[in-house]
């Protein structure tokens, strides 16, 4: 089972949401007040109709038009104020949601390497975009509905009280039924919603992987097998939705029975009050019409419950990522410290690193002088990439010391460490933007001219303004882009993590040349899988099982007959 991203507790995500909403509290209260006014205005209609019934009983035709006028005015005011309230509330909510969206993406990007390395891109994308989408759908419409329903219900109760306290008492009899219904619902539903979110996330993460590797599926004609697995995942979502609907419809059943009891209680109370001369027929009519008008807000409330639970499930996933991300404020500038000549740029002293309890780097001590070009070689799993991540500050050493230009990179906030050490990763991503923008990310301060120059140098000058979102990007383009970014970047230390993996020899040679040009005067670490790369470096570090087992210039190591010499022989066996 692959590791997954953390989930925040329901209480924690509620607190987080409240902290996001707090600045808007006055706007929200204002909106609520408007909803109450609208609901009160809406109540005028059934009350006026009761008066109309009384007027008919008294045969007072003159009053009829005045009453009708008031009823119409009430409905119009309710329509206008209700809309205004919804606008005030949704504007506030959408602003909160936009803020949450941004924070979720920022958090997903800011996840420490120790967490994000373990999860698939699909999982991360699902948290940062799908869950935020689900949250939006479950909040943007339903919260105004909730506010409006709550106001309508409160006003209905107030209206019943105004007609006669006994009417209110009759309706309140059903409150225990409501309480039971809500409790029964809340006992089962939240778990089902979490299960549904999980099933949806699994379905989309899986689909994401399948779509990304559709060439593979085609090559092995395994579409049928893949389809079968997708069908099961998709049907799991359907099953979740259906079981939620069963719980929901039971909830609705109980609410309906409460409504029935309330209406019958009102009818009987109305009869008793009219018979006792305590109320008019018109007032009894008003009470019943008010109750009828409650049908819509009550079912609205049900739907809102539904959405709120969906929102809570999505929120827990979003807050889980937010909490897991480093809390450091973003910072991408750093005053580069001055160093005396001869002092090492990179210094590791007895550095060790454990990931999930497994030692990955063991007791490494090494110093790299300014301007050196150093190759790191070794079999897969020897700890080359982990060593690079330690130096780049993406991972903090479990024990020992890692310093770049006298500072501990993992202690630097946000992206400041990348100002010291820039890493060109194995799979450079091509963003859905123009080629120029794709280059500029490495140095947003670079002018258009500088970007154009770099585009020329990497042989893509003609494409500078081309939008790369539709281009079928191949490995060669993304590696060229990565080197272009390195050319623009002003960091004193550059790390190339198998920067030419996956491209053929001719292309690799050209890229190597470009990398050389990009790095004049800088300190460079090159994680090499080709010994031809290592051969042209000043110094080679050979790694095995998390330790540096050999260190020296390539020709010296070749002569020494140690691990590097054996690697060299293996490589050269078929070589010219």
């Amino acid at each position: 089972m692959s590791p997954s991203l953390p989930l925040a507790s329901a209480a924690r995500s509620r607190r987080w949401l409240l902290s996001r909403v707090r600045p808007l509290v006055w706007r929200l209260l204002g909106a609520l007040l408007l909803f109450v006014v609208a609901a009160a205005a809406g109540l005028i209609f059934p009350l006026a109709l009761g008066r109309l019934v009384d007027a008919v009983e008294r045969d007072d035709a003159g009053a009829a038009f005045a009453i009708a006028g008031v009823a119409l005015a009430g409905l119009l005011v309710a329509a206008v104020i209700g809309a205004a309230a919804a606008v005030v509330l949704t504007f506030g909510l959408e602003a909160v949601l936009a803020d949450i969206r941004l924070r979720a993406v920022a958090a997903a990007l800011g996840l420490p390497a120790s967490i994000s390395d373990g999860v698939s891109a699909g999982q991360l994308t699902s948290r940062g975009s799908d869950d935020v989408d689900a949250l939006r759908e479950a909040i943007a419409g339903p919260i105004p509905a909730l506010a409006s329903s709550a106001a309508a219900i409160a006003m209905t109760l107030a209206g019943l009280f105004a007609l006669h306290p006994a009417f209110l008492a009759a309706v309140l009899v059903v409150v225990p039924v409501h309480v039971c219904a809500v409790r029964a619902y809340l006992r089962r539903a939240p778990r089902l919603y979490d299960a549904e979110r999980g099933a949806v996330a699994r379905r989309s993460a899986w689909l994401y992987e399948a779509l990304r590797s559709r060439e593979t599926i085609r090559a092995y004609a395994s579409a049928a097998r893949v389809q079968g697995r997708f069908s099961r995942k998709s049907w799991a979502v359907v099953r979740c939705a259906l079981s939620i609907r069963i719980v929901q419809s039971r909830f609705f059943l109980r609410l309906g029975i409460a409504e029935m009891l309330g209406t019958v209680a009102l009818l009987l109370t109305g009869h008793a009050l009219v018979a006792a001369g305590q109320a008019t027929v018109g007032e009894a009519t008003s009470a019943l019409l008010v109750m009828l008008a409650l049908f819509a807000p009550m079912s609205g409330l049900l739907l809102v419950f539904d959405d709120l639970l969906a929102a809570s499930a999505a929120l827990r996933r979003v807050v889980g990522v937010v909490d897991a991300a480093a809390s450091a404020e973003p910072s991408s500038t750093l005053e580069l410290p001055r160093r005396g000549p001869g002092e090492p740029v990179v210094a590791l002293s007895r550095a060790t690193l454990d990931l999930a309890g497994v030692p990955v780097i063991r007791d490494v001590t090494v110093e790299i002088a300014p301007g050196q070009i150093v190759a790191i070689v070794g079999a897969s799993g020897a700890g080359k990439t982990s060593l690079a991540k330690l130096i780049a500050g993406q991972l903090a050493p479990t024990s020992g010391r890692v310093e770049v230009l006298g500072r501990a990179p993992s202690q630097l906030p946000g992206d400041a460490a990348a100002c010291l050490v820039t890493v060109v990763d194995q799979h450079p991503h091509v963003f859905e933007a123009t080629l120029a923008e794709n280059l500029q990310l490495a140095n947003p301060a670079a002018g258009a001219g500088a970007v154009r120059d770099v585009a020329e140098r990497i042989g893509l000058g003609a494409m500078a303004q081309l939008d790369l979102s539709d281009a079928r990007t191949d490995g060669a383009l993304s590696h060229r882009l990565a080197v272009g970014r390195a050319l623009l970047r002003q960091a004193p230390v550059m790390v190339f993590d198998e920067a030419t993996a996956g491209v053929d020899a001719a292309e690799a040679r050209e890229l190597d040349g470009l990398i050389r040009a990009a790095c004049t005067g800088r300190t460079v670490l090159m994680i090499a899988h080709r010994l031809s790369q290592a051969e042209s470096c000043d110094r080679v570090l050979v790694m095995d099982c998390g330790s540096i087992v050999e260190d020296g210039p390539p020709e010296a190591l070749r002569a020494a007959g140690g691990p590097y010499a054996r690697l060299w022989e293996a490589w050269a066996a078929g070589a010219p």
Partner: protein, 563 residues
């Protein structure tokens, strides 16, 4: 699983597709509709019972009668809640089954062996298989809720007609006028809402793009750049949403104001009748109660129906465009050399059609690549690369030439400049399933989570590890899958370009045993792999040289291409 019949292929236009989706779960839809009709009618009966109770019970001070009507009210409510309970379950089942089926169809089309001709990003495909399919399948609800709403309106009109026929006619015509007016007024609002949807979808795709590139951003310290880019899209979406929400609320307020006019007008007319003694107080209550309830279905019909329909239509257009996209490699008209299912775990040498040749004739090579066959600029001379069963042949070429060759081998259609013969059969005339069974082209792209599982022997030969993480480990997993495939002909393109030298050597040593009995072509510049081949073809712009790796090392351009 609920049976759902849905054919997408024959749909001529988006409208036809929506209609097919509507009718895809007829039994579930009809059941849900029937139950929701019962629910609506029962709901509309509530004011009728209340009116009668006021007339005969409360106004007449007859408690027995009030009690009787109260019992009827209970019965009516029970019908209402039970019908709603099962109706909503059936309705959801209908939507979900259609959605499931549609999603399978879309995913099936995307993963089909024939491929899709256009370049579509993963984000776009995900959004079609996700939200578009969901919106299209929601159209199923058109056969449920609007039907019930119309039934409720009809019921109210009949009840009102029974009280005083002009009232029924007025409510019916007024309701119709209201729906039509709202439909007209609502058009610009719906356009804005579409626009808002697009903006939101845009934000989502920027988020996905940003997160997919998280490692790159971290390495370059460019997270602020990415967040600024995302924030700009986010702000734009927020503005669009605000504009759309305020126009939506203007529309809602207008719709409520218009319906208020209708309700109050009817109430005044009914009051006039009551004053004239034409109808009783109870009937006045029934009229007012019904009209008050009628607003719900009227608003639903005028607001929701069009919105669901138009959203489904827009999504149907995107789904249909994807389903009807031309194939990247259309299936050839006739089936040639159709070989049925191949035995798993490799094919015994000579078991293919070549065995059917007349005795004494030289068997055709398992793989024969005729370069420049279809008059391409690259190779002037007609050259042939042939690989026999049990042979390991290398191809060395510059990167663009090698990629072009592998790409053409992967496609094997009538458009390519090389002609590929498999046991004498023209590969371009093979159907995709037969082709995949006889030839596997493992290029750099053939990797990732969807690789078929490989048995231990193949994994060992490819030095594959559990849970691959680095580029080299993924490449080894891909190689293991290629070695494990039962196809008799294997083309490997730079299978070890990201693998360290020690491991590469181990893979090279195991390659011959792992591919025994098969014809293998390796397009590579790795000396370790070339050293174990039987012969190597050196491809240059105009010439092809052939020889053993050792012999070719004498050619300077050959040495230059090796890495």
């Amino acid at each position: 699983m609920t049976p759902v019949a849905l054919r997408i292929a024959g749909a001529r236009n988006p409208r036809a597709l929506v209609l097919r989706a509507l009718a895809a779960a007829p039994r579930l839809g009809a059941g849900a509709a029937a139950l929701m009709v019962v629910q609506q009618v029962a709901e509309f009966t509530v004011p009728v019972i209340i009116g009668l109770a006021i007339d005969h019970g409360i106004a007449a001070r007859d408690f027995g009668s009030t009690l009787g009507w109260a019992c009827l009210l209970v019965a009516d409510f029970l019908v209402l809640v039970l019908a709603a309970q099962f109706g909503s379950r059936l309705g959801l089942r209908a939507v979900e089954s259609v959605q499931h089926r549609l999603r399978l169809a879309v995913v099936g089309r995307v993963l089909a062996p024939t491929g899709i001709a256009g370049a579509r990003g993963v984000g776009e495909l995900l959004s079609i298989a996700g939200s578009d399919v969901a919106r299209l399948s929601r159209a199923v609800l058109i056969t449920v809720y609007p039907v019930a709403e119309i039934a409720a309106l009809g019921y109210a009109a009949i009840a009102l007609t029974l009280i005083w026929w002009p009232l029924g006619v007025a409510v019916f015509l007024g309701g119709l006028a209201l729906v039509l007016t709202m439909e007209l007024i609502g058009r610009p609002f719906r356009q804005r809402s579409e626009h808002e949807q697009e903006r939101i979808a845009g934000v989502t795709s920027v988020a996905a793009d940003t997160l997919t590139g998280a490692a790159t951003l971290r390495g370059f310290g460019a997270r602020d750049w990415a967040l600024a880019r995302y924030a700009a899209a986010n702000d734009e979406a927020l503005d669009a949403t605000k504009r759309s929400r305020s126009s939506e609320q203007r529309f809602v307020a207008l719709s409520r104001a218009l319906s208020a006019l209708l309700v109050v007008g009817v109430a005044v007319a009914a009051a006039g009748l009551a004053f004239a003694g034409e109808i009783t107080i109870g009937q006045l209550v029934i009229v007012v109660g019904l009209v008050q309830l009628v607003i719900g279905p009227l608003e639903a019909l005028s607001i929701n129906l069009a919105a669901v329909w138009l959203a489904a239509l827009a999504s149907a257009a995107r789904v249909l465009a994807l389903m009807q996209e031309p194939a990247a490699r259309p299936e050839p008209a006739e089936r040639v050399g159709g070989v049925g299912a191949l035995p798993a775990g490799g094919l015994p040498a000579g078991a293919l059609p070549a065995a059917a040749l007349p005795a004494g004739a030289r068997p055709l090579p398992a793989l024969e690549i005729r370069l420049g066959e279809r008059g391409h600029a690259g190779h002037r001379a007609r050259q042939v690369i042939a690989v026999d069963r049990g042979q390991l042949v290398g191809v060395v070429a510059g990167s663009s030439l090698a990629s072009a060759l592998v790409d053409e081998l992967r496609r094997c259609d009538t458009e390519t400049t090389v002609r590929v013969m498999l046991d004498g059969d023209d590969a371009a005339k093979l159907r995709s399933d037969a082709l995949a069974a006889r030839l596997v082209v493992a290029s750099g792209r053939i990797a990732g989570a969807s690789l078929p599982p490989a048995p231990a022997a193949a994994r060992l030969a490819a030095q594959a590890v559990e849970a691959p993480h680095s580029g080299g480990e993924h490449q080894r997993a891909a190689l293991a899958a290629a070695l494990a495939s039962p196809a008799p002909v294997l083309v490997l393109h730079e299978p070890t370009s990201a693998v360290d030298p020690v491991t590469e050597r181990l893979i090279a040593d195991a390659l011959r045993t792992a591919t025994a009995g098969r014809a293998v072509l390796i397009v590579t510049t790795a000396p370790a792999l070339l050293a174990v081949t039987d012969e190597v073809h050196l491809l240059e712009e105009h010439t092809v040289s052939r020889g053993s790796h050792h012999d070719l090392l004498g050619i300077a351009s050959y040495r230059g291409l090796l890495r």
